[in-house]
């Protein structure tokens, strides 16, 4: 155990090469994100003015700090091996971080909806006057649009990279953060378009642009909150984007059922954050399933995927319905 302390690990789960590279890259990109956010928060603050969408973009920048920070904190915490006090390890830190990131995303969306919606209802006419730089007085809107163009670019790239890493690492915090980056560049683009519209004398352009974007952000936020709460409340394991039940449960059931000494097998899986906690119930064909057979089966399952580590196989006379609701494997009852 001590000799491999240098290897990246989640608790007692040692990461395969692909995942440990992804983790290193993710940590690097989260630091880059924090750096970018610091710069963009300052730039936007300097040209804030009176535009609703600009103010919203700024508040969003502030809230965007939460996902990368919570990822970095979680990535640090989950390195700890399980202890007497925490026999399941610290994997749930990821679930908590995901919840923090999801709430941040949701707050951004809700704030934007309320803010731009109210602005529209009250028919607020955003005032953007002149600014004097180097002895020239020109329209502040140009500067705002430039700031938006500058701050919209990086999150597109950051979001795409994180989305890929999220899949590889099965990391929902990264996924929520990628959504946050998407929200970032979309609000920046909307603010730019809104200010261009204001310049054309369309006072509502700003608010309408922000409103359209905010609805999509709010939807992402709600989806992430559902996923995060589900994960923490022991919902069946889902894919990193919470779109489908994770195929691993089905794969394990298929494998165990295919063993010559097994007549029936069913598992329940919960997502501990990165790794899964799996309980598999197997019904042996005869009464004399050996310890060796059970251990071999467990090791084979662990070989299947790095996320399988915390797994128990329980030999039973018949499948316990009270633990395994639903008819089909993989828990696809809905």
């Amino acid at each position: 155990m001590k000799s491999v302390a240098e290897k990246p690990r989640f608790g007692h789960t040692e990461l395969p090469e692909e995942q440990s590279q992804a983790l290193r890259k993710a940590v690097k990109f989260e630091w880059i994100t924090i750096g970018y956010l610091t710069v963009s928060t300052i730039i936007v603050f300097l040209v804030l003015g009176n535009s609703q969408a600009m103010k919203a973009a700024w508040i969003e920048d502030l809230l965007s700090f939460l996902p990368p920070i919570s990822f970095l904190v979680a990535a640090h915490v989950i390195k700890r091996p399980p202890s007497t006090k925490h026999p399941y390890g610290y994997h749930r830190a990821v679930g908590i971080a995901h919840l923090v990131a999801a709430v941040a995303l949701c707050v951004v969306g809700a704030y934007l909806v309320a803010d731009s919606g109210l602005g529209l209802l009250k028919a607020e006419h955003p005032t953007i006057g002149g600014i004097t730089l180097f002895g020239q007085t020109f329209w502040l809107g140009w500067l705002m649009m430039a700031a938006m163009a500058l701050t919209a670019g990086p999150p597109v790239y950051l979001g795409l990279v994180k989305m890929k890493l999220a899949r590889s690492l099965h990391d929902k915090v990264l996924y929520a953060d990628a959504d946050m980056n998407k929200a970032d560049w979309m609000t920046a683009a909307a603010a730019g378009v809104g200010i261009a519209g204001i310049g054309m004398g369309l006072w509502w352009a700003d608010a309408v642009a922000a409103l359209i974007i905010s609805v999509s952000i709010l939807r992402d936020g709600v989806r992430n909150i559902r996923g995060a709460v589900g994960g923490l409340a022991d919902a069946r394991a889902m894919t990193y984007d919470d779109a489908h039940p994770h195929p691993l449960t089905g794969d394990i059931d298929d494998y165990l059922s295919s063993l010559h000494w097994v007549s029936e097998a069913r598992s329940r899986t919960r997502d501990e954050g990165h790794v899964f906690h799996i309980e598999s119930f197997v019904v042996p064909k005869s009464q004399d399933a050996t310890i060796k057979q059970l251990e071999d089966a467990r090791n084979a399952c662990i070989e299947m995927d790095w996320k399988v580590q915390d797994m128990v196989i329980i030999p039973v006379g018949e499948l316990p319905d009270e633990f395994l609701p639903g008819q089909t494997t993989g828990g696809e009852e809905d």
Binding site: T132, G199, G201
Partner: protein, 160 residues
Amino acid sequence: MCRSRPAWAAILAILLLALTACAHYPADPNGTLNNVTDGTMRVGVTENQKWVQIGEGAEPQGVEPDLLRDFASQLNADIEWHQGSEHELVDDLKHGELDVVIGGISAKTPWTTHAGLSRPYVKTKDGRGKTVKHVMLAPLGENAFILSLDKFLQSQEVQP
């Protein structure tokens, strides 16, 4: 990202719609600059030391009325003076009955939800030694008018 396709369609529609109305940039939603140019500028005045002085039966005097007379002549506009309290004037401004309100107003004015502010055009110290940045009030969102007022004010050497 495909889900946001309607959003982009809407944004594009806004842009196209806007391009058709693209004469001045930035433009006023309510056309204040157009109305004032070669027309009348309705100025609300409220007395405030050397900034605005109001005498019986005479035009308002002081730093700010002088500035606005120059600005109006640039736009070939006549000035119609309206006297009142700051509250009355700001309310008129909000309802489109005035074009500018002056009265030694500072950039820290609480009227920002009712009126658009010009850039500060001069700084002074108040009795407590705090810096006061002086601004004029204009209708919210009349960006072309505010920009042209800003351009005028910034080009002036105002001595407090």
